[in-house]
Symmetry: C5
C-alpha cells in the first residue's frame, strides 16, 4: 500500500495520494516536500517508487526490502552516473512485547531522508507512522515543514513506543518476584531465566539503536539541519534513559534469581530440620521402650511397684523437654 503526501514548506498539506508519474515533477518543486509511505508494498510498488521515481542506490533498496537485523544509518552521495540526490538511509526498530510468549518482537522501519523527500517503508502497520501522519495532516506543531522534522517525529514516536513494552516487562518482573518469594515452584526458575534472557535481548536491541541515534545527536549529517539537532538529542536522551531502565531490570532479575535459589535451598534445610526434630522428640520414648523390652531375668526395675508410671512420667517429661527446647530455639 502506498500513501503519499506533499507538504508546503509552511507545513501545510498540499496534495494527497499523488499519482506515481507526478512524483518526479513534485520533487523538482523546491517549495514542496514529499512523504511517501510504503506499507507492506508489493514487489512492483516497491520497485516503481524506490527505483523508478527516486533512483535510490541498489544496495539501500535491497537492505530496505529485506529484513535487516541491525539498525543503521548510511549516507549515500551520488557519483556522476547516479541519478539520485544525496540521502540518508536509516533502519530503525520499533519493539513490541507480547506477554504470552514473553518475547520482544521488533518491527523494522526504513527511512530514505533527502533534502525534500522522505520515503518510509515498513511491513505491517506501525503505530508511530500512523500517529505521525495524522499529526502532519492536522498541521499540529509544524512537524510537516521539512523532512528532517518529520523524521524526528517518527523517531520520537518509535522511541516513545518502547515505554509501554518496558511497562509490561516491569509488571512481569514484579509478578515473578512475588512468586519467587511466596511459592517458588518448578516453573519459577524457568520463568526468571526466560525474562532475564528477554531483558538481555532488549539491551542488545537498544544498543545499536542508540549508536544510530547518537550519530544524529552529534549532528553528523548535513541533511539534518543544525537547529534540529537538539530535538534529535532529546530522542537520544529518552533512549539512553530506557537503556538505563533495562539495566535496572537486569539487576532486579539477578536479585530475584538469588532469592529463588536461596528459597529452594532453604526448603531442603527446612525439611532436614523437620526430620531432625521428629527423630529427636521421639528418641526418649524409643530409648526407654527398647531398654525395658530386654529379657534379662534379673531386671529389678521391672518389678518395682511404681516402675511403669515412673517410666511414663519420665517419657512424657523428656519428650516435652525436647519439644520445649526446639520451641525455644525457634525451630518451628
Amino acid at each position: 500500500m502506498i500513501r503519499s503526501l506533499a507538504f508546503t514548506t509552511q507545513g501545510r498539506l498540499h496534495t494527497k495520494d499523488i499519482e506515481m508519474f507526478l512524483m518526479p515533477t513534485l520533487l523538482k518543486d523546491t517549495n514542496l516536500f514529499l512523504w511517501v509511505d510504503l506499507e507492506s508494498p508489493t514487489r512492483e510498488e516497491a520497485k516503481s517508487v524506490l527505483e523508478d521515481v527516486f533512483h535510490f542506490h541498489p544496495l539501500s533498496i535491497e537492505d530496505c526490502v529485506m529484513d535487516s537485523p541491525s539498525p543503521k544509518v548510511e549516507e549515500y552521495s551520488p557519483r556522476e552516473e547516479d541519478q539520485f540526490t544525496p540521502y540518508l538511509f536509516i533502519v530503525i526498530h520499533a519493539v513490541d512485547y507480547s506477554r504470552k510468549d514473553c518475547v520482544f518482537a521488533t518491527s523494522e522501519l526504513n527511512f530514505f531522508l533527502g533534502k525534500n523527500f522522505l520515503v518510509t517503508y515498513h511491513n505491517g502497520p506501525l503505530r508511530s507512522v500512523t500517529q505521525t501522519e495524522e499529526q502532519a495532516i492536522k498541521g499540529t506543531m509544524h512537524i510537516a515543514r521539512a523532512p528532517d522534522r518529520v523524521a524526528h517525529t517518527l523517531l520520537d514516536a518509535i522511541v516513545e513506543n518502547y515505554k509501554p513494552a518496558l511497562e509490561q516487562l516491569s509488571q512481569e518482573i514484579a509478578e515473578i518476584e512475588q512468586q519467587a518469594l511466596q511459592n517458588p515452584g518448578k516453573q519459577t526458575l524457568n520463568k526468571i531465566l526466560e525474562i532475564k534472557k528477554e531483558v538481555q535481548h532488549l539491551r542488545r536491541i537498544i544498543g545499536p539503536q542508540r549508536e544510530v541515534l547518537a550519530k544524529f545527536a552529534r549532528g553528523e549529517f548535513k541533511l539534518v539541519r543544525a537547529h534540529l539537532v537538539p530535538y534529535y538529542r532529546d530522542v537520544y536522551d529518552t533512549l539512553f534513559h530506557i537503556s538505563e531502565l533495562a539495566q535496572g531490570y537486569a539487576d532486579s532479575l539477578t536479585g530475584i534469581l538469588q532469592v529463588y535459589l536461596n528459597m529452594s535451598s532453604n526448603q531442603t534445610g527446612e525439611v532436614v530440620k523437620f526430620l531432625t526434630m521428629v527423630t529427636i522428640i521421639t528418641t526418649p520414648l524409643m530409648m526407654i521402650g527398647t531398654w525395658y523390652g530386654m529379657n534379662f531375668h534379673d531386671m529389678p526395675e521391672l518389678s518395682w511397684p511404681h516402675a511403669y508410671p515412673i517410666a511414663v512420667v519420665v517419657m512424657i517429661t523428656s519428650t516435652a523437654a525436647t519439644y520445649w527446647y526446639f520451641k525455644k530455639k525457634k525451630w518451628f
Copy 2:
C-alpha cells in the same frame, strides 16, 4: 513561587523581588546580574519568566518544565531570528535517601546560566538553593559576583548534600552486616538485595552527573570563566570520591551476601550434625536394648548373675564414649 535577586558585579545585593516587567531592563545593565529562582511555579509564572522575559529555546523550556530522568548540560547559541543571548541549560539531580522505603529519591534542579543571569527551576524547596540564596544575600565569600560563581556554589551544595544520604546508606549497610552475621532471618536476604539494588541505582544516578560535571571541569564552556574552572574541578573531585564510596558499598554488599548465603547453608549443616550426633549417641543403647529383647530360648547372658548391671555399665560407658568423641571433635 518566583524569587528574584539582582546583584552588582561587586557581589552586593542590588534589588530583591523584582517586578516581572522590570527584568528586561535590568538584564541590559552590564553592571548587574540577575538570579531568578522558580520554585514549583504555576504554568503562567514559568511561561512569563522563561518565554516572555528570557525568550529561551522552546526545547530547553520543555525539558525544564517536564521531569527529565537524566542530567545534562546543553549549550544554546542563538540563530539570527532568536531573541536570547547564549546560555547553558543544565539539569542536575539532588538525592535524598529515605530509610523507611530504602529508596534514593532524586529531585531535579534546572539551571539557565547566561553571561549576566541565572535562572533556577525546581519543584518543591531544595536545601542547596535555600542555602546558596542566604549566602549570596549575606555576601559571604563573594559568591554573588557573577552567575558562574553562583552556579558553582549551587552545584557544590548539591554534591555536598549527597554525603548525608551516603551516610545513611553506610549505617544501613553496617546494620545489615550485623544482622547477617548474628541472626540471619528470612527477611535478611531481601533486605541485602534491596540495598544492593539501591546502591546500583545510586551509581546509575551518579554516573551521568559526573559526566556533566566533567564537562565543566575540563573547561568546555566559554560561559564559565577560566579562572573558575578549578572550582568546578573541585566539585567534580567530590563527586568522583562519592562514586568511589558507592563502589566500596557495592563491594561490601557482595561480601555480606556471601556471608548470608554461607550462614544459611551452615545452618543446615549444623542441623545435620545435630541429627547425626543424637542418632549416634543413642545407638549403643538401642543396639543392646534391641539385642536382648530377642526371645531365643537359649540366651545364656540373660540368666548370668550380673548380666543386667553389666549391660547398664556397657551402655553408659559407650554412650559416654561417643559423647566424649564428639566433644573432642568439637561438634558442639
Copy 3:
C-alpha cells in the same frame, strides 16, 4: 591445483586455464583482470605463481603458505627494488561446524588483491570459492568486472556460510535445554560446558574477522574503490549480526547451566523429603510397638480387654493423619 581466469572489465570471461608463462603478459593488459585460484597447490605451483609471476613480498607468501591462526589484512606497497605492484594481503576464516565432535573448524582463505589481479589460496575445496567462480563465469550480477568486486563476493559467501553452522549450534542448544529440564543425567553438565566453550571459541573466531572487515567497511584501502565500500559494509553488518547471535547463545547457555545445577540440587532435596516422609509416617507404629514391647510386670494397658484393637486403631489413625498432613502440604 591451479585454476586461472581472465575477465574483461565488462565482466565477461576472456580466457580460462591460462599457461603460467602467459600470465605476466595478461597482467600488463589494462583491459583485463586476472583471478588465479590455488587450491591445495604443490610447493612448486605455489612458488611459481606467488614468487615468479606476481613477485609478492616473501613475508606475505610465508603467511599464506603456513596456517595462520588469526585473520588479518595488510597493505604491501613496493619499495624501489621490489617488483610487485601494491596489493592487499587478506587472511579470512570460513567456519564449519561438525555436530559429532561439537567443534568449530576453521578453514583459511588467503587473498592477494591488486588493482588488476586477485590470487586466492586455500587448502582443500571451499564452498564459497566454488560458488563465486561459477557466478563469475556465468557473468551473473556483474561480479567479475573488477577484483574488488570478486573479493567482496568471496567475503560475502564466507560470512553467509557462517549461518548454517550457527543454525546447527542453535539446534544443539535447544536439545540440551530440553535435556536439562527433563532428564538431567551425568553427561548433561559436560555437554553444556562443552557447547559453552565452543560458543566462546566461536566468538573468539568472529572477533578478529570483524576487525578485518571493519577496516574495509571504513573504506581504509585505496585498492577497494569508494563506491564498493557500502557493499563491504553490508558484509560487516552480517558478521556483526552473527556475533550478536553468538552472544545470545552464550546467554542462553548460562541460563541452561543454572537450570541444570538447580535441577540437580533439587533432586537431593526431593530425596531428603522422601526420607523424612517415610521416617515420620512410620513413627507412630514404631512408638506404640516399642512402648508396649516393654516387660514391666505391672502395665495395666496390656491386660485391658480391648487394648490391642485400640492400639491398632490408634496406629492406623495416626499413620493416616501424618500421610494426610504431607498430602496437604503437597510433599508428593
Copy 4:
C-alpha cells in the same frame, strides 16, 4: 612545624631553618632553590607560608589544608593580578597497613612544585619525607640540584613504601589460605571477605595515584624538565607493578573463598556420610534383634538348639561385611 632548606643549583645545602621574612629574598636568587616542609603546621604557620610568602591560589591552599580523598595534580598559571609564579599542586597518598585492624590507612602528602621552590605539607611525620631530607642534606646522588629532582625522590620514596604494606598483605593472605585449607572456622569467611575488601580498597587507592603519575610519565608538565621524565616513568612503572600485584592478590582471594565455601559444604557432606555409615553398619543387628523380639507363639527358630550362636555369628558377619564394604569404598 616548619623546616626550610635552601640549596644551590650544584646540590649543596646553602642555609637551613630560614626565617620567614627572608624567604621572599631567597626566592628571587636564581642560583638557589628553596624547600619548605610543613609538618602538621598550625593555622598561622600554614597561612604565613602558603599565603604570605608564596601567594598560592586560594583553592590549592584549601585543598592542601583540608583532607582530600583523591590524589591529583593541577597546574596553576598566574593571571595578571596574581602574585605567584606558575606551579604544580600535587596531592599524593602514602599507604600504611595495620595488621591489627586489617585496614590500609592513607596519609596525604601535598606538594607545591615551582621552578625554584618546593613546598611540602603533611600531617604527622612521613617516612618518605624524612628520608629524602636526609639524603638531600648529605648531598648524595645530586638529588638536591632542582625541585623537580627532589619531587621525584619524594614520589619514589612514597611508592617504594607501598611495598612493605603489600608484603604484610601477602603474608596475611598466605595465612588465611592455610587456615581455609586446614581448619576453616566461622571466622575464616569473615576474614577472607575483610581482606578481599581491603585489596579492593587498595586497588581503588592505587588507581588514581597511577593516573597522576602517568601524567608525569608522559611529560605533560613544563615544570618537570624533559631529561627527568624517564625518572618519573620509572616511578610510574613501579606503581604499575604494584597494581599488578594487587590484582594477583584479588585473584588469590577469589580462589581462597572458593576453597573455603567448598570445604564448608564438604564438611556437611562428611557428616552425612558418617551418619549413613553408622546407620547402615548397625542395621543388621537391629533387624535381627527386632525380628526375634516378636512374640509369635510358634517361631521354630527360637527353640533351635544353636539358634542364638548362629544369630550372633550372622550379626557379626554382616556387620563386618558392611564395615568392610565402606572401607573398600574409601568412606573413611
Copy 5:
C-alpha cells in the same frame, strides 16, 4: 660472560670476541655492526661495556642491571652533553613453565638497539639468544645484516618459546579435567585453582609484552626500518594468538571448576540417596518386628496357626517390593 660479534652489512661475520678497547673503533665503522651479548656478567664487565664503551643513559643501565618486573620499550635521544647515539632500550620476558611447581617463571632479556649496535643483557643462558647467535654466525636467512633484523629474530625466538610452555599447560589442564570427572579428591580443587591462578598470571605476563610489541608493529620507532615493520607485526600476531589461547584455557578451567563443584555436591546427593534407600528397604521388617514384639495379652495373630510364616512372607515381599521400586526408579 661477554660474547661479541661484528658483522658486515652484507650479513657476514667480521670478527668474534672483540677486545673491549677495540669496540669504540669498530662502532665508528659504518660498514659494520656490533652485537655484544652480556650473559650474567660481573659488575665490572657490565660497567665497562654499558658505561665505558656505549655511554648509555644511567637510568637504562640501572633498569637493565636490576630485575624489572614489567616489559617496556623506551627511546633514548641524547642531549648535547650526552655521549651516546640514539637507541631503544627494550625489556622483554621469556617464559618457562615448570610442571613440578606449576609456576610460570619469566626470564628477562634486555636489549639496547642502536643504528649499528645491539647489546643484549640477561642472567643465565637463554635458548632464544643462543639460537639466534648460531643462525647469525652461519649467515642463514640474512638475519645478521642489521641490528633491527637481529632484534626481530630474538623477539621472534622468545615469542616462539612461549609455545612449549603453553603446550605443557594445555596437557596439565587436560589431566585435571580427567581427574575432576573421574575421581575428584580433596586435592583436585586446589590443583584447579592453582592452575587457574597460573593462567591468570600468564595473561598478566603476556598483556604488557603485547603492548611493547604493538609499538613495534605500528612502526613507532625510527630505529626499526619501515620495510622490517611487517616482520615485527608477525611477531605481534603470534603473541596475539598466544593470548587468545590463554583466554581459551581460562574458559576451560572455569568449566572444569564448575564440573568439580557439581561432582562434589553430587556425591553428597548420592550418599543421601543411599541412606534413604537402606532406611526404606529395612522399614517393613522393622515395622512388623516391632509390632509383634508388643506384649498385649490378647493379640490374636500371635497364636494363629501360620502367623509366623505369613509374617515372613509379608516381610520378604514388601522388602522385595521396595527394592524393586528403587531399581525401577534407577536409584542404583
